[in-house]
């Protein structure tokens, strides 16, 4: 090859490269241009029947709002992964998704960071939504999200071994002990004791049973008060002294607890409503048709408590179509759409009126009167932007106490101190000026 051949080759190559680059850049630019249709993006969970249901509902919305197309953006199912993705998008000020499905414990965090838009109070039926869910949708008196569906911590109990649900904590304890000792079941009671968020929800129910709490009405830390210590001592004794709760729960999440109850190994289980349908499947479950639910019972000083979980819908602060996004949220949280969701995905709606009418009775697998009692017992987790750090502190301390590494009183006192320090250094302490 001569010198000139090589240089010609190189020039041709360079020219070709430039052409390719130009085409590619042009394509990428044009691909991002919106068509005449306004495009909204909704980020929500699409587990099981949810995807089909949502697509149906979104199509209905598109019919109502001509010129609007809603795209469903699927996100990972694991809560912490979805949370991380949201944090990444919103922190980077991405304009989409326009509407986000938030876990109920994220709203305050996202609101405090300025990532979601305040919502117009007048567009929200404050009388109809569950008060506990509404409490979690606000931050500093402003609404930032609308409750969509709720989850409640329940006590599952073996209706073939007991005549009725235990009405007090003492009854629960005694029944568990009796059934275990008699050999009717291997374990008395099982719950989620791994070092994760689920443990905090279990603790919350025990707290309510003894009249304690994490933060009081003024936002002060009360998790080291006597009532809380009694609650944690009860849990710890159940595992370590009486043995009605097996030590292996310390590595269990929802599914492991469900397997234990489903195989007939436990007389009582604390879990979420999702387990009901799965355990009624006679091909997999040994307790199909032989269990019922009730709120977690209380001791004398407390009241039955159900930890509140669930999801809310919020508008991205950088959305380019905030009004349309709000309209989409109003649509999805309408009674009809919620009813459809209850039927298709067996999820509990967040509107109280739906529980009064008979419509839900056939839609949900769990008997409606049992659910009504649970709704009255619903308690949200602390509504604060630093809830995830707070929860982590609590998880570590609770787990230490339950595994015997620290006495309950000491664990809670250390935890309270750390939480107070957290609130102080983030300017969220009860007595500091509001952000």
């Amino acid at each position: 090859m001569t010198r000139s051949d090589l240089s010609c080759e190189r020039r041709d190559g360079a020219r070709r490269l430039c052409v390719v680059l130009a085409i590619v850049t042009a394509c990428s630019a044009s691909c991002r241009e919106p068509a005449a249709v306004t495009r909204l993006t909704l980020s929500a969970s699409a587990l099981g029947g949810e995807a089909q249901l949502l697509r149906r509902q979104l199509a209905r919305f598109a019919e109502r709002q001509p010129g609007v197309d809603v795209e469903l953006r699927v996100t990972p199912d694991a809560a912490d992964q979805r949370h991380q993705l949201y944090v990444q998008w919103l922190n980077a000020r991405a304009a989409d998704p326009d509407v986000l499905q938030l876990d109920i414990i994220w709203t305050a965090e996202f609101a405090g960071a300025g990532w979601i838009r305040p919502l117009d109070r007048s567009g929200i039926d404050e009388d109809d939504f569950l008060p506990a869910a509404l409490a979690a949708s606000q931050w500093r008196g402003v609404f930032y999200a609308v409750p969509w569906f709720v989850d409640l911590g329940l006590l599952y109990w073996r209706s073939d071994l007991l005549p009725a649900a235990p009405r007090t904590l003492a009854e629960l304890h005694d029944a568990a002990l009796r059934l275990q000792r008699s050999g009717a079941t291997r374990f008395g009671l099982v719950w989620q004791g791994a070092r994760y968020e689920g443990l905090v929800t279990v603790f919350l129910e025990h707290l309510g049973a003894f009249g304690g709490g994490l933060l009081d009405g003024h936002g002060r830390v009360i998790v080291d008060e006597p009532a809380a210590v009694r609650a944690l001592t009860f849990m710890s004794d159940a595992v370590r002294r009486d043995g009605i709760v097996p030590a292996s729960v310390l590595s269990w999440q929802e599914e492991q607890a469900r397997f234990a109850f489903q195989n007939g190994d436990a007389a009582f289980m604390r879990n979420w409503p999702y387990a009901w349908v799965l355990m009624q499947d006679a091909t997999q479950s040994r307790v199909a048709g032989r269990f019922a639910v009730a709120p977690f019972p209380a001791a004398s000083e407390g009241r039955p408590t159900a930890a509140l979980g669930g999801a809310e819908l919020a508008v991205n602060a950088w959305s380019e179509h905030p009004d349309l996004a709000s309209a989409l949220i109003r649509f999805l949280t309408e009674p009809e759409q919620m009813l459809e969701r209850a039927r298709a995905a067996a999820q509990l709606p967040s509107r109280r009126s739906l529980y009064e009418t008979g419509a839900l009775a056939t839609a949900l697998p769990i008997p409606i009167d049992q659910i009504r009692r649970l709704l009255d017992a619903a308690v949200p987790r602390p509504v604060t932007p630093v809830y995830s750090e707070l929860s982590e502190i609590l998880q570590v301390r609770l787990h230490r106490a339950l595994s015997g590494q620290q006495a309950p009183a000491a664990a809670l006192s250390d935890g309270a101190r750390e939480i107070r320090a957290l609130l102080a250094r983030t300017g969220l302490a009860a007595d500091s000026a509001p952000p």
Partner: protein
Amino acid sequence: MNRDMTIEREERRLARWFVAPALAFIVLGSLVPIAATGWEALYGHDLRLPWLGRPFVGLSNFVEAAADPRFRSALLHTAIFALITVPLELALGLALALMMHTAIRGRPLFRLAVLLPWAIPTVIGALIWRFMFDARAGVITAALQSVGAASESFDWFAHPLAAWVPIGAADIWKTTPFVAILLLAGLQTIDPALHEAARMDGAGSVRRFATITLPLLRPALVVAAAFRMLDALRLFDVAYVTTAGGPGTSTETLSLYAFVALMQRLRFGYGSALSVAIFLLTFAFALVWVRALGRSLIGDRT
């Protein structure tokens, strides 16, 4: 004489233009950002708590880091990982280079075996190794179980120490070829006549290796060790993909912790302080090696 000076001036002018774009990228793309990171490290900047603003906190981020047990463990993890894997990579790389150097047949196969792991993206390689070590599907777990070396349900990724093995394997697999290529270059500069002479004097292969090959290979070994050490200190990709720092934080490296602090916790001030710490650590190494390398690259003309 005049012509020389004009040429020299013209050369210098030309050089300035030629060097300018690269210099611009270096300055704007890394020097300015590094300085900015150092500056950011002096502020408290939590992107999730905008109401706290961005107050000047001086060195308190660094003080917090020094007392932070998670930072200290990350430092320990990173240092130990580097000290274990780098010698292994050097040894395996040397073995590979020797084989490639002396191979008569199968050279293309060697070249392939060397270049493929090196060319495959690091995260891809890490995923393959993660799959191979998987408790259920992993072929390595299965192989160990079949010879009885591992229990029924051994999960590498659930043990704080065992989780390092897949990381180390993935890293060594990916980087040994690079070391081998560097050392091969060194081997190829050794005059075969030296070996001939020694062989005629009756020296065995081991003796020749120790007295001729190793000493002459020292510069290349030093270069390889430097590059590998720096990469090991900066380890991110393999750790993130293989274990994400888990279980808990027991396989968290320095870069991974800084990434978590920055992009997941959004504590930009504190994360910047961590990044500065990592930078200083690698800078200390770089300072030593760059002078050695720079001198060798330019030669004696400066």
